[in-house]
Symmetry: C2
Subunit: 314 residues, 2 copies
């Protein structure tokens, strides 16, 4: 069977098994694993970036490759309401890469690590014909802040923490040979993660996830793991001007970037009505959850339809 | 500056920084990081395997690729006197790989994980034009068992836990188109790790490390980090018959395989005289440590000379 027939999440189901230790609260299948540690929780996440698929040396200066590798992992910890702690960096380097180039990658890694209090404690440096960077990151949180994908309740409001689709717009601009608008390109090459607001949101949200594969994929994860349904209002999805402009230049749909693009690293979270005021400054309402029976829907100019999609890795 | 001018360990020095948390006992630069956790220690290690450099699909069935990825990481935890605990698996898959093939890789991963009580709690599956597997593994140990590279003392005996050079002999056989002798080839494709004896040794040893880059490189790590010198007796280095036979077939030196080959995943450890009896069943004496001033030496048929080397990644 070919990978593309079952996709990334189908494959994950095939290779998943239940963990044996009782302390494992969330295991394989989630972006971040959660292990109970007394009154606290230890978080474990990892992300691999492969040259050609996840970055291109000709598009990205080395500092930005390093910053993105670290930021995308911290984003996973942020989405659980956690504080990142220790990182292991594995890197495979091709022979054409210079020592100075590698130092610049690590400059970027350390910049983001320092900003969020991460200690880089080890790793593996090796040779490969492609450059590959893998970050494994641990974090820590407590009962008050821990926020899973699977705890959304029917009737929650669905919010996103910022404009979406920018990263995919930037990627499409680069793929089509454009150097501007700059802002979406920067969003693609050097995304920020939302540690600035994630901890505060996590106190009030029922469920949270970061946008690594596109809004459609992320809300599907929340619905499937929470056993609920939802309706997303397409016109409420926040887009910034440069993303709209990039879509015009490219003759593409900016909502498609937001729904199925990914790598925005904004947060998607669901909040019960009584907590809504507490998080209004941190996001835009894009929909509302309901019972499982309602399915996962999007309301757009054509009415209410099935919401499907997400970035397809294979 | 080219990577090969400074090598792997020169590069690691350039990209290393001291960790900021006081709980970090051993940080970047070691195969395994050590974090103090009350009366215990948490261990963190990671290893990346890249298609072409670390394995070839035409040589290795997928179960063995999975088993080796897990075993090489467990070996790093074993060498610290630890018990492995949680693993994150990142894998990049090329489009020509089938679902069944990936399932077999995970069959191998889970086989070794189960044997040593490891819970696979998460990971990342993605696409890349090469297959890459990264394992990040945590473990746990206590004051009695924790064994670092840097605690060898002058006058210690140096022991190795089993015959060396087999893995490199197997690699050379494969590179030269031979299908036998089988044993070294199996050692290369499907190495075991020494969790079976590592915990017991760790009670009595001053310093320990696993053989991932060859005996020469590992004893240099022990000397440099312990601030001591040593003499290794070449003729005492254990070699098995098939490794010697492979070297004859290839017209190569089996001691060269042992000293500079790597991936044997046996243990090298130093033991004070008063503990020697306790570990005699677990290894062969290959030398003795001394003061830093004596340097790092090997005694062979030509006398006593500088010991240099180790597997060169770049």
């Amino acid at each position: 069977m070919e990978l593309r027939e079952i996709g990334e999440f189908g494959l994950i189901k095939k290779i998943s098994r239940d963990a044996k230790r009782k302390a494992v609260l969330v295991g394989i299948g989630d972006d971040t694993a959660v292990i109970r540690d007394g009154k606290e929780f230890i978080l474990y996440t990892t992300d691999m970036m492969v040259e050609g698929d996840h970055f291109r040396k000709e598009w990205s200066p080395p500092e930005k490759i390093g910053r993105k590798a670290m930021a995308s992992n911290i984003s996973d910890i942020a989405a659980m309401g956690g504080m990142p702690e220790y990182a292991l960096i594995s890197i495979s380097l091709s022979s054409d890469v210079s020592v100075e180039y590698v130092e610049l990658i690590y400059k970027g890694i350390y910049e983001v690590a320092d900003r969020y209090g991460v200690d880089v404690i080890g790793g593996d440096t090796t040779h490969g014909s492609l450059m590959v960077i893998n970050v494994a990151l641990t974090g820590r949180t407590d009962e008050e802040h821990l926020t899973l994908r699977g705890d959304a309740k029917p009737g929650d409001y669905i919010l996103v923490s910022g404009p979406l689709g920018g990263s995919k717009a930037g990627l499409e601009l680069l793929l089509h040979g454009y150097q501007e608008p700059e802002k979406p390109i920067e969003k693609h090459l050097d995304p920020r993660c939302r540690m600035d607001i994630a901890r505060e949101i996590s106190i009030y949200a029922n469920a949270m996830i970061d946008v690594s594969d596109g809004l459609a994929s992320e809300v599907c994860h929340i619905c499937e793991e929470s056993g609920i349904g939802m309706v997303v209002e397409k016109e409420k999805i926040p887009l910034d001007e440069d993303t709209i402009r990039a879509a015009e230049i490219l003759g593409m749909d900016p909502y498609e970037f937001a729904l199925n693009g990914g790598e925005d690293y904004e947060l998607v979270f669901t909040v019960p009505e009584e907590n809504l005021e507490e998080v209004r400054d941190y996001g835009t309402i894009v929909g509302r959850t309901g019972s499982r029976g309602m399915g996962i829907k999007i309301r757009d100019e054509r009415g209410i339809n099935e919401l499907k999609g997400g970035y397809v890795h294979f």
